[in-house]
Homo-oligomer: 202 residues x 2
């Protein structure tokens, strides 16, 4: 029996360590990253269908109208979105897919694909978040304060998620997520063929 | 922050290996077994509040009327049930509790305590179930056939459960259940205080 892959949607404030965790999950080869569609111009090294699906604004708007995007948003005059076709194709092959995405987009995806699993990644506490953002050494105090403020705002959406993972250390948080993926794969709603398997029919 | 324990409700056909798995989970010290109330007379070595809560039929009927039982059933003229007070007391102490219980009882519990996690344990397939029941050497062919028939009937209830665990080997099935417990402990619905923890308020 070929099992459908799992769509994991990971959000969390800046400084929660999403990027590192996603790298870990990919390295463990359990996950494909989704490829975004965008209206922005490709950079020299970027290839269509590898780094992004590059689309004109007209094409992008057609994708929105046809509900071909699981979610989309506009930043600095360019549109970015998650093409549904690429994701479902991966899932049907039995491949788990991970979307690293901000809160509004995550909730859009959950609406269109309720089987998706929403995970909110948080730093252990505000103090530690401040420490991590400061230690990066790349942002000034005002930017850091803005990010902390934004993190507090985003925390209001935790209750709309399925799981919350505290990123105390990267190996532990990665394992937490793998345990969630393992448990979700045993959900009865994802194993509707179990009776047939038991009876030896498939 | 003191976290509430998890109520795990484990069902599965005869030959699924429930008993062995429960022993493993208890040995790992993650679980307390609930203590049943019964109207049957205590055996010589049995102590009230240790092996069972021994009650008269009148007392037992009062418990039913007052909704003091999470579930109950009658076998061979004696009533057996799961007292709600003992279970909730353990859960409030942060202790995980496991109920090994048949399908009808499990669904009763889920109605009264929706936060409970229902796990259905199954042997890999019918053939293997037949082999296990035969290898026990304790039942005749007719009893084995009756148990297999009953297993097929019980499988119809899988969809009412939260998770299905295939008991291929005991260590793997035990680990599967521990992963479910771990994942469930990260559910947002079980971590309503996370915002306060993050802000350092508790």
């Amino acid at each position: 029996m070929k099992k459908q892959g799992l769509l994991l949607i990971l959000s969390g404030p800046s400084g929660s360590g999403k990027g590192t965790i996603v790298e870990q999950l990919k390295a463990k080869d359990d996950f494909a990253l989704s490829i975004s569609a965008t209206t922005r111009a490709p950079r020299e090294y970027e290839q269509d269908g590898v780094h992004y699906f590059f689309r004109t604004r007209e094409e992008f708007e057609k994708m929105i109208a046809n509900q071909e995007l699981l979610e989309w948003a506009e930043f600095c005059g360019n549109c970015y979105g998650t093409p549904r076709a690429y994701v479902t194709e991966q899932l049907q092959k039995g491949q788990n897919v991970i979307l690293e995405i901000e809160v509004q987009g995550a909730l859009q995806v959950k609406k269109l694909y309720p089987e998706g699993v929403l995970i909110f990644l948080v730093p252990p506490n505000l103090e530690e978040l401040g420490r991590r953002l400061t230690n990066r050494g790349t942002e000034d105090k005002e930017t850091i304060n803005r990010r902390i403020h934004r993190a507090l705002e985003e925390m209001e959406y935790v209750q709309d998620y399925d799981y919350v993972v505290i990123n105390d250390t990267v190996p532990q948080a990665t394992q937490d997520i793998l345990d969630i993926v393992h448990a979700e794969s045993m959900r009865c709603s994802r194993n509707k063929e179990i009776k047939k398997v038991f009876k030896g029919e498939i």
